[in-house]
């Protein structure tokens, strides 16, 4: 609880400073504000408590179990399902894809009207979810086969740059943002635990060197996929 208070202190200070010295406007509803901060505080405390109790142990236990089982097929299926399943329902992604549909419709890339926009937004959501699924799969494959991460990231960057050159200008901002919004608060700890669990149960892998990196793929590949989606549709 005390630690969470320390985590939130900077936000409180920033807001107080700007309200008092820069904007110089009175804050309305001080009561709800304090209640709200109390909830944030409580929520953060519960989250971190539950993280160490449930999310981290189950992620690592499953990684160990898959490593012992030795079936690459099932591990890949799990990695893909985790990436796809956690992204398709992500509220931030739903919001972003609706906005993208609006942009595409205004720019005249798709037919005007609700149906075309809905189709575009749903297509975009599936594209991003697919890309995150493939990204986690690739990341797990990298841990198994010991591929160098920096080369893979550089190839990813090169792809982004090439595809950007061909993508319609309106989609570029949203595509670059989509990399950041895909990785949610529950996915990140789970994916981190999976990577570290795998790296520590396969001999010859270093958890520090090989365990991290899954999230990096999950935020790079959607950029490429969304740009390609923008070119095709």
């Amino acid at each position: 609880m005390f630690g969470s208070l320390r985590d939130l202190m900077p936000i409180i200070l920033v807001i107080a400073f700007f309200q008092m010295f820069v904007l110089q406007q009175p804050i309305e509803h001080v009561g709800t504000l304090i209640t709200g901060f109390f909830f944030v505080l409580l929520g953060l405390t519960f989250f971190i408590y539950g993280l160490n109790m449930g999310l981290f142990p189950i992620g690592e236990a499953m990684a160990h179990a898959f490593a012992r089982k030795g079936s690459i097929f099932w591990l890949m299926a799990f990695a893909f399902a985790l990436g796809f399943g956690t992204t398709i329902a992500e509220p931030a992604l739903i919001a972003v894809s609706n906005e993208a549909a609006e942009i595409a419709s205004q720019a005249g890339h798709i037919a005007a009207g609700e149906d075309a926009m809905k189709l575009y937004a749903t297509g975009l959501r599936f594209t991003v979810a697919l890309s995150v699924g493939i990204a986690i799969m690739l990341g797990v494959l990298r841990i198994l086969l010991n591929w160098p991460i920096h080369l893979m990231i550089m190839i990813g960057y090169t792809l982004v740059i090439i595809v950007t050159a061909f993508a319609p200008a309106e989609i570029i901002g949203i595509a670059y943002d989509s990399g950041g919004v895909t990785t949610s608060t529950i996915t990140v700890p789970l994916v981190a635990a999976l990577g570290i669990g795998l790296a520590s149960s396969i001999s010859g892998r270093n958890p520090m060197l090989d365990g991290f990196g899954l999230i990096a793929f999950a935020s790079l590949l959607p950029i490429v996929f969304v740009l390609v989606y923008g070119i095709i549709v």
Partner: protein, 277 residues
């Protein structure tokens, strides 16, 4: 009473959001791994705490932080406010938006410190590195990266430059740093780009971007309002590698200094020994 029903409502919707994840975990657990989960009760309680925690967190954010943050973003990007702060007549220049950049920096830094996903990764990084990477060191390095990224992103919206040039230059910096940074930090640094932008940061930063794009003449909220999150996920990679490079450099310098001192001591001891002889 209203609050309780809201908590119920949000808890159900959070539960609905995480249902696919839970289904995948337990589906694979029971159908593929086919082994009982160790401490099943504890794990279930842990998952419940996580979902409950996120629910409370979201309610708090929506009650307190988001309305205020969005209002502040609007007020700060308001031409009337910017005009009043600069006392200048005529066209606004990019430097007249300085309060926006300062706000972008401060809000980027402070929301990143509170980001639950980053706390999770920092805990793991400390555990895996055996304490070499401190929880606070990583979090502050990432927060600085986000802060710089968002201020630069705000500057880009004001001047209206195409986003890809900034991102490509950022990529080049990341690639160059990769070759010089300590090997162990590289994967973690790459990851820190993705974890920074989630629950707390995204809504506030999006509000700032859209507010700016709406008020700066010649920008479209739909097209120019995006891209801040991309900056916020690129710059932490640079700042985390820089953090590792700086601590590495300092450790080496310290080592050299100690070595020199040791040599000096050795010499003086030797000379003392010589005198005795």
């Amino acid at each position: 009473m209203e609050l309780i029903s809201e908590i119920q409502h949000l808890f159900m919707s959070t539960l609905f959001d995480v249902l696919p994840i839970i289904a995948i975990i337990f589906g694979f657990q029971f159908l593929v791994i086919r082994k009982p989960v160790k401490n099943l009760k504890k794990v279930l309680f842990g998952l419940f705490y996580v979902i409950f925690g996120i629910t409370l967190f979201l309610i708090g954010l929506e009650e307190a932080l988001f309305p205020l943050g969005k209002l502040m973003a609007q007020q700060l990007t308001d031409p009337a406010f910017i005009g009043a702060m600069t006392h200048a007549a005529g066209e606004l220049e990019w430097s007249d938006y300085y309060w926006v950049y300062i706000f972008a920096f401060a809000i980027g830094m402070s929301t990143t410190i509170a980001e639950p996903a980053l706390i999770a990764v920092a805990i793991k990084a400390k555990e895996v590195s055996g304490g070499a990477i401190g929880v606070w060191g990583l979090r502050i390095a990432v927060a600085v990266g986000v802060a710089v990224g968002i201020s630069l992103g705000a500057y880009r919206i004001v001047i209206g430059a195409p986003i890809q040039y900034f991102i490509i230059v950022g990529y080049i910096v990341v690639v160059i740093q990769t070759f010089f940074a300590p090997k162990l930090i590289v994967p973690l640094a790459y990851d820190s780009g993705g974890v920074t932008t989630s629950t707390v940061t995204v809504p506030l930063v999006a509000a700032l971007g859209i507010g700016l794009a709406q008020t700066v003449p010649g920008r479209s909220a739909l097209i120019d309002g995006f891209g801040l999150i991309a900056f916020a996920s690129l710059f932490p990679m640079i700042s985390v590698m820089a953090y590792a490079q700086i601590s590495d450099f300092r450790a080496r310098r310290e080592f050299k200094r100690r070595e020199r001192e040791f040599d000096r001591d050795e010499q003086s001891r030797n000379s003392a020994y010589d005198e005795e002889e």
